[in-house]
Amino acid sequence: MYGGGNVFEAMKATALAEEDPQKLAEFEARIDRGEKIEPKDWMPQLYRKQLIRMIEQHAHSEIIGALPEGTWITRAPGFKRKLALMAKVQDEVGHAQLLYSAAETLGKSREQMIDDLITGKSKYSNIFNYPAFTWADSCFISWLVDAGAIVNQVANSKGSYGPYCRALERICAEESFHLKYGHHCVIHLATGTKKQREMMQAAVNRWWAPMMHFFGPSDKISVHSEILMRWKVKMASNDECRQQFLDMYVPKIWELGLTVPDENLKKNQETGQWEFTEPDWEEFKRVINGDGPCNKERLAVRRTAEERGRWVREALLAPKAKYVTPLA
């Protein structure tokens, strides 16, 4: 899963001045014609840099995103849920694997990317810095966070970089199963016993603000990304994705008898746009810069996993050892 709110490299005005103007023009013409850029093709340094950054953040979001839901695998109620949640979280780890491979085609190794994650140099989706307190929280994530991710990923799968688009197509197919599973879980809670309904409503209340943050700051205040749009790195604006999400899912949430904790949330029938209380972007910035409820814990878990696994990775590189192809 992943959302918008990517943190892009600050762009220097001189960044493009150093590129060969003719090659740059050809590159842009290819993108205009809807061609895909492949790893061996010429591309501006800035394009390469921003893509690595975006794909890497997406990959990190998949493995960090496995943590809040992963803690519920061992507690999932009943065989059906236990098996489905295991498969779902496994898929997310598989997405990370696919995406790291896509980013590697641009010249940065998985080890480097994971190092940058652990040291905090590289970001991941903000929403995973919030804790999943109850089973209902994990159901909210499977349904609505994955739904948000789909909005974003479907848009990005039409982008210009071939390996990323192909990874996203596969990922989106799996995400639609996650969404079905999550929706099924939420329906059972929202239409279940009093206790289940309360659990579900509490989860919606807890997760609504992070969900609104998920798509990133509003277009009014976010950094200019025209060139990224032109190069089809970024395919839809944060506000467009947020609007699309609200349009698709708020009616479904209401339909289940759940409420959304924003009394200003409504669709303006004239403009066709959803109106809502402006999310607290100061909190968004604070959390993405490391000061959220779970940032330290998430990175500590990742760091520990990397440290505990180091001897295994070293043993795979040992001269005696033949390369292992995982079978299962």
Partner: protein, 251 residues
């Protein structure tokens, strides 16, 4: 066929699969590399799914439904061997357990494929195909890490020594051993154990590891009759935490 004997056999298999599947799933998000995360999750899904199938057979024999049986019993009602309930420890211990247990498991299901009790033989045939990949995975990794670096060899050796008494606990004889054998339901733990010893030796001999002297070890028996280590009850408490909020609710 003696139904008590049959149920005892089914329970121990189902409980082994459920508990080890649960342990395997704890690796999700924590593996030494993403590929192993994914592999352990696959094996977890297979094992938990297999336990479900065995609980369904038990259900047909008059036991409660699978969810109730899995999520509502306490540790002393579980028949799994103690080996599967031990915490994952480091990857070396999990890998050694995966190797030792899954080798036994594949032999057990291969033997059960010839069971005279039709529901078991049918299920065993299907499961045998899944478990084959688990042992292939284990064998490759044991051969790899068991001859790679001084650290990997030492770690695997320590875990092998630590695991072996528990692994021998897999073969704790059932009080119904004779019934099972004479009815052709199952060839028995002794036959399973001797085939297992042969097969693990074959793999270990291809590494720098030494097999502990098994005859001098005391097997960790007790699990089959509900005597467990202190690790099982907390695992079950965690597993049933949500389910027990309201066992009658539809989750």
């Amino acid at each position: 066929m003696n139904t008590e004997a049959l149920k005892e056999l089914l329970y121990k298999i189902a409980d082994d699969q459920l508990i080890l599947g649960h342990r395997n799933s704890e690796w999700t998000g924590f593996g030494p590399l993403l590929e192993e995360d994914i592999a352990f999750s696959s094996m977890a899904q297979d094992k938990v799914g297999q336990s479900w199938q065995f609980y369904k057979i038990l259900n047909e024999l008059g036991e409660s439904d699978p969810d109730t049986v899995a999520f509502m019993r306490n540790a002393d009602q579980f028949h799994n061997c103690q080996f599967v309930e031990l915490p994952n420890g480091e990857y070396d211990f999990s890998l050694i357990r995966h190797f030792l247990f899954d080798t036994a498991e594949l032999i057990r299901f291969t033997m059960l494929a010839d069971s005279t009790y039709e529901p078991i033989s049918q299920l065993a045939k299907k499961i045998r195909g899944e478990v084959k990949y688990h042992t292939m995975h284990a064998n490759i990794w044991i051969k790899q890490l068991g001859s790679a670096t001084p650290e990997s060899i030492q770690r695997l050796q320590d875990s092998l020594n630590q695991a072996m008494p528990y692994a021998l606990g897999i073969f704790e004889p059932s009080p119904f051993e004779d019934d099972l054998i004479s009815s052709g339901t199952f060839v028995g733990e002794k036959a399973l154990e001797s085939e297992w010893k042969k097969q693990i030796k074959e793999i270990i001999d291809q590494t720098e590891l030494d097999l502990p002297d098994m005859d001098s070890l005391t097997p960790a028996f007790g699990g089959r009759s509900g005597n467990h280590t202190e690790h099982l009850q907390p695992l079950l408490d965690e597993m049933s935490e949500v389910f027990r909020v309201d066992p009658t609710a539809d989750w």
